[in-house]
């Protein structure tokens, strides 16, 4: 390793730039910080560090011509960040620019410099980077030891440590993304240009054939991304053939394994799983011979899929064992690498499909635990609290189980069922296992009634058919071939009825028994775009007969249901954002009427209206703070490349560009635009989109369209939704709006395009007539929540609420708590209560455990087990998502918390202010 690799590749602390001895060095330290953050998937922090470095570089007057290495490195990192975070359109542009920069640097290193000044800029840049990251003395010492100048050492080190690995990485990413974003032809052009340029490069250990294999492999991926699977296989076969020209040895065997695995994936995509299995077997054998068992894990997983897809029976135990092995590996490597995450995802889906085939269900908590854990992992939303490590405290262990308290809380919501949909395993050729359907309803005390079932081929086909029929009919509406006021076609009705009947019978029964559906569709395979609201049962369209609220994850659901996760309510203000007309996107004739509708509705909803005409990206970025509602009027775009609110025909704002407030929750947002209700699935189970981003930042609910919506109906839709939201929560408001839209003759596809993400019980209206619960959490508030509120505040009002709520508690708990609240009794007898309660009311047991723990901490100042007790108490409070309990603990014994949770100090700092 050279000097740069010593620093960059070695694990280490994230630098802050504070200790650097020059502004140039600070730029590079921020760059390194960004790189470190990215390596552990901390994208926001990485972006922030890179922005800081870029700002300083600009202030120094650096340009692409005077600081080419800085721009190549920071451009590549910027592009990789966008790529890994799912912003593919922007990533493709950034990486193509970065690739050009690296190619020019390659020309300098190969002696074919474009001009003298540029050559000096590259050489000086190598020295600056090395001095900044490795240190002046280290560079000078190395130069002295080698009898060379510092410049020679820095340039040679940069060529070996940075140029070679980076040109491989940047070229591969840029070519793949170009195929995905533009076309395979464009990707091929980029690949050919890069290959031609590379003929003149000669950095240390450079191998033309090896580089060409990388380019061919990337082109194969680009072709797959562009849907050209035959071309993909052709490139993959070329790559296999090229490996024979490499020098024999371990490196060649490694390349052969990669090339065979790549060809296998292309065969699989073409619907030739048996041949794919052969290639995966070769790759696995090579990797095991090279003693690379971790990498072999991936090809073993792929081999298992190929076997299963070619009709071979695969045992659940085999999948479980392989999955456990792969998860251990992923944990050891901190989940680095998108490809590994994709493999894990495939294996988890296989696991889920096999569990569904067993047709499980009932009230078996262990079974539900396993399923929810899998779904959480598939969606990348496994809470930190459930990191899989066991806990000796039985209450903490119980609360950390998936749905540990969720079942009890779900049961508190009237007639509510949870419906999760996960896709099976598929590929481009249609080797798709049917979707898997999970329904969960509140059962007896502390338990949930659940069913997991395979959707069956019929469900898969029926839902697709409904999607296609609806898309064609929507097209006729939106072009104005058909009137917006008109009945659905018989074909649509038939497809919608067939789709309903194709759901597994237990799922249909659970839906019919409910009135509110909390819907967790996976965005994978675009499952979330299936129009659940347009299923047609005997009682009507599901979206008109039922409240349907889309929920991105179990983790989010738990937060919504937690009674003591206090929301930071924004001021009673409504912002009506009207994007200035964009000529090239077409005039929206109804936009003014739409904005006026929202402006009129706001005061009726108890919100002070303010109008914002949006003309710049900054105007959009700052829209989502200081307001309880944002009503957005304008165009909207969502595709595989990203999600934009356009401010001009070629400039849009994505969720990652928004300035989110730290001190208040994001508002309710109604996107009266096309497509912004969509959620996009990206590798590793993560989800992207406006709705999920807003929910993540605390928005109670987001309304958006899954499809294109006709401008002519948007104002009317807004009016119906706000009219219904006057006295009803948003889930019910959207249901009522659909119903009224239908009753007034509008085609059901129009209102059916609008969906609600978030809390179905979120109340937007602050009008005096809008009484009742303001959120689902108000409905789930029971005595355990009142107990910790009283513990935290000591206020008589909270005590009275606790006493009033105790009627719901088992008699022994009621008696003890009553005496405790009146100061007549301590908590000495509570451990026995906790034991009795744990199996029937985990939430209650958890709240009691928090009080007992808090009192012990107050009492036992020198107890050696104090730290462990503190940790367990805090974990119980956190598992309950109980802000009051956490605030109570954090305001006492500051030093203890600081030593227990050093990394979380910043996040925990605000908690007491919020609650106490």
């Amino acid at each position: 390793m050279g000097l740069l690799a010593d620093v960059i590749d070695a694990p280490g602390e994230v630098p802050t730039g504070g200790g650097a001895d020059s502004e140039a060095a600070r730029c590079w330290w921020f760059w390194l910080a960004a790189l470190r953050h990215k390596q552990v998937n901390e994208f926001d922090a990485a972006r922030e560090a890179l922005r800081e470095g870029a700002g300083r570089a600009e202030a120094l007057g650096w340009t692409h011509m005077t600081a080419p290495i800085w721009y190549a490195e920071s451009g590549a990192l910027h592009g990789a960040l966008l790529h890994d975070d799912g912003d593919h359109g922007a990533a493709a542009e950034a990486l193509e620019r970065a690739l050009l920069g690296w190619r020019l640097i390659g020309a300098v290193l190969g002696g074919g410099a474009p001009d003298q000044d540029f050559t000096h800029a590259v050489f000086d840049g190598a020295v600056t980077m090395t001095r900044a990251l490795a240190g002046h003395a280290v560079l000078d010492d190395r130069a002295a030891a080698l009898g060379a100048t510092p410049l020679e050492v820095a340039v040679a080190g940069f060529a070996a440590d940075r140029f070679v690995p980076m040109i491989y990485e940047v070229a591969a990413r840029a070519i793949q993304l170009t195929g995905r974003v533009r076309s395979y032809a464009e990707a091929r052009r980029l690949a050919n240009e890069t290959l031609n340029a590379s003929r003149h490069w000669s950095p240390p250990s450079w191998d033309d054939v090896d580089f060409e294999i990388t380019i061919r492999t990337s082109l194969a991926h680009a072709a797959s991304a562009a849907g050209n699977h035959r071309a993909a296989l052709g490139q993959a076969e070329d790559a296999v053939a090229l490996t024979r020209r490499l020098r024999p040895g371990r490196a060649r065997e490694r390349r052969e394994a990669e090339a065979h695995a790549n060809r296998a994936s292309k065969l699989y995509a073409l619907g030739r799983p048996a041949e794919a299995a052969g290639d995966y077997a070769v790759a696995t054998e090579r990797l095991l011979r090279l003693d690379q068992p971790e990498d072999a894990l991936r090809t073993r997983a792929a081999l298992l899929h190929a076997r299963a897809s070619s009709g071979e029976a695969v045992a659940l135990a085999e999948v479980r064992a392989l999955l456990a092995e792969m998860e251990r590996f992923a944990a050891d490597t901190r989940g680095r690498g998108g490809a590994l995450m994709e493999d894990l995802e495939y294996l988890r889906r296989r696991h889920l499909v096999l569990l569904a085939a067993e047709d499980g269900g009932g009230q078996d908590d262990d079974g539900l635990d396993e399923i929810i854990l899998l779904v959480e992992q598939l969606r990348g939303d496994r809470p930190l609290l459930r990191d899989g490590s066991p806990h000796p405290d039985p209450v903490v262990a119980r609360l950390r189980r998936p749905f540990g308290v969720g079942a009890t809380r779900l049961a508190a919501l009237p007639d509510t069922v949870l419906l999760a949909l996960e896709p099976g395993i598929g590929n481009a050729a249609g080797l798709t296992d049917p979707p898997v359907v999970l329904t969960v309803a509140g059962g007896g005390p502390g338990r949930a009634r659940w069913r997991l079932a395979e959707g069956g081929r019929e469900m898969h086909d029926a839902l697709r058919e409904l999607t296609n029929v609806a898309a064609r009919e929507r097209d006729r509406l939106n072009t104005r071939e058909s009137p917006l006021h008109g009945p659905p076609s018989p074909a649509l009705r038939q497809a919608a009825a067939q789709a309903w009947l194709s759901l597994p019978a237990p799922a249909r029964a659970a839906l019919l028994a409910a009135r509110t559906v909390i819907y967790l569709p996976s965005p994978a395979a675009n499952l979330d775009r299936l129009p659940l609201e347009l299923l047609l049962h005997d009682g009507g369209w599901l979206g008109e007969t039922h409240v349907v609220a889309r929920c991105p994850s179990f983790e989010y659901l738990e937060e919504v249901l937690a009674p003591n996760a206090r929301r930071r309510r924004p001021p009673a203000r409504a912002t009506v954002a009207h994007v200035a007309p964009i000529e090239r996107l077409g005039a929206l004739e109804e936009a003014e009427a739409d904005a006026r509708t929202a402006m009129r509705a706001a005061p009726l909803l108890g919100l002070e209206p303010r109008s914002r005409q949006i003309t710049t990206a900054d105007g959009l970025r700052e829209l989502f703070t200081g307001t309880a509602l944002v009503h957005y009027v304008g165009h909207g775009f969502a595709s595989e490349l990203g999600e934009w609110l356009p401010v001009s025909h070629d400039r849009g704002v994505t969720p990652s560009e928004v300035s989110w407030a730290d001190d208040q929750d994001a508002p309710v947002v109604f996107f009266n635009a096309c497509l912004l209700g969509r959620v996009r699935h990206i590798a590793g189970g993560r989800q992207k989109g406006w709705a999920v981003t807003l929910l993540k930042h605390g928005s109670p609910a987001v309304i958006g369209a899954l499809d294109a919506v006709p401008d002519a109906a948007c104002a009317a839709m807004a009016r119906e939704i706000y009219r219904a939201a006057w006295r009803a929560p948003l889930g019910e408001a959207l249901r009522l709006a659909r119903q009224r839209f239908g009753a007034s003759g509008y085609h059901p596809l129009i209102a059916g395009a609008y969906v609600l993400h978030g809390d179905p019980y979120a109340m937007l209206s602050r009008a005096s007539g809008a009484a009742g619960p303001r959120a689902a959490a108000d409905l789930t508030t029971r005595w355990p929540a009142h107990l910790t509120r009283y513990l935290a505040t000591g206020e008589p009002a909270h005590r009275d609420l606790l006493l009033a709520a105790l009627h719901d508690a088992p008699p022994p708990v009621r008696t003890r708590l009553h005496s405790w609240a009146l100061g007549q009794d301590g908590t000495a007898e509570w451990p026995a209560l906790i034991d009795d309660l744990l199996d029937v009311d985990a939430e209650g047991a958890g709240a009691l455990r928090v009080v007992v723990g808090a009192e012990r901490l107050d009492r036992d100042g020198d107890d050696p087990g104090r730290a462990e007790e503190a940790r367990a108490t805090y974990l119980a409070a956190a598992a309950l998502e109980d802000g009051y309990a956490m605030a109570h603990l954090l305001t006492r014994h500051h030093d203890l918390w600081r030593s227990l949770f050093p990394a979380e100090q910043e996040a925990l700092r605000d908690v007491p202010q919020m609650y106490l």
Binding site: T479, R480, H485, S489, P490, L588, G636, V709, A712, C714
Partner: protein, 281 residues
């Protein structure tokens, strides 16, 4: 001044999108859209706008290019309301246009058939007002349409062409659903503020009150009018037309209110081209 009367001052047929596409030479859908866009917009031919990509015209052209006539479903009659006078319950109302100039009594109607069909435009002037009367009334314009079914790629395309005008009908509406006692009109749907100055509270008064005011009705109203056609019953398509009505009308309106009640005028939001409804309590 017994009943309203109109003079037609302009009337012409306008090609719909289907006719324009049929008249085009070859070329791609994109080229066709570029060629047609300006004229389609200028003539008010209805092509939907989405709040996303701007390609609805191109998609419509693609659909039209594959069509072939399957059946001529014949002619049918349709109608739409062009003016209504709403009477305060228990009272009277009348309209006088004698003091207005011709330009202040004008209405323009633009009709285009569903399924990208052809249309007509007409400009008419109101010559006579409406004599004072005790029940609500509507003036309805009748229209003749021709409906044809086309096959091609995808579902059948049903095209309605607006072929001619029929009579104007005068219809009394004694059971007007808008002018009555009952719950206050929904503030989300109806505008209770624009005409607030004309509200009158006679609950504590014992004599009828007469009020005259000048009403300036200005605005554009867009709607969709369906046509019942037995041959289409139960089918996927709907016959009918898109209507755009531009009103520029200045008139004197006289209302007589009976005692003992409170009268509140109201209208659909943004509909400045209509006389108000009356809510009574």
């Amino acid at each position: 001044m017994e009943r309203p009367d109109f003079t037609v001052v302009a009337d012409e047929a306008v090609d719909g999108l289907a006719d324009r596409v049929a008249a085009l030479p070859g070329g791609t859908d994109e080229e066709a859209a570029a060629r047609l866009e300006a004229a389609v917009e200028a003539d008010g031919v209805p092509v939907g706008t989405e709040r996303g990509l701007r390609d609805t015209l191109q998609r419509a052209i693609a659909r039209l290019r594959t069509r072939e006539l399957v059946a001529d479903l014949g002619e049918a009659a349709a109608a739409f309301e062009i003016l209504a006078l709403h009477v305060p319950p228990g009272g009277k109302a009348g309209v006088d246009v004698r003091r207005s100039t011709a330009a202040e009594r004008r209405m323009t109607f633009k009709l285009f058939g569903f399924g990208f069909g052809g249309g007509r435009t007409m400009t008419a002037e109101l010559n006579e007002g409406i004599a004072e009367r005790g029940t609500c009334m509507r003036v309805v314009q009748q229209v003749t349409v021709r409906v044809r079914r086309f096959g091609g790629e995808g579902e059948d395309l049903v095209t309605t062409d607006v072929t001619g005008w029929g009579e104007r009908r005068f219809v009394t509406a004694p059971g007007c659903p808008h002018c009555r006692a009952g719950d206050e009109p929904d503030p989300f749907e109806y505008d209770l503020l624009s005409d607030q100055a004309d509200a009158l509270d006679l609950r504590d008064y014992d004599t009828e009150v007469r009020r005259e005011r000048v009403a300036v009705l200005e605005g554009v109203r867009r709607s969709e009018i369906g046509v019942d056609l037995p041959l289409l019953a139960g089918g996927a398509a709907t016959a009918g037309f898109h209507l755009e009505q531009r009103t520029s009308l200045s008139c004197a309106v006289a209302y007589t209110f009976p005692p003992g009640r409170r009268f509140v005028p109201y209208r659909v939001y943004g509909d400045g081209a209509a006389l108000p409804y009356w809510h009574v309590s």
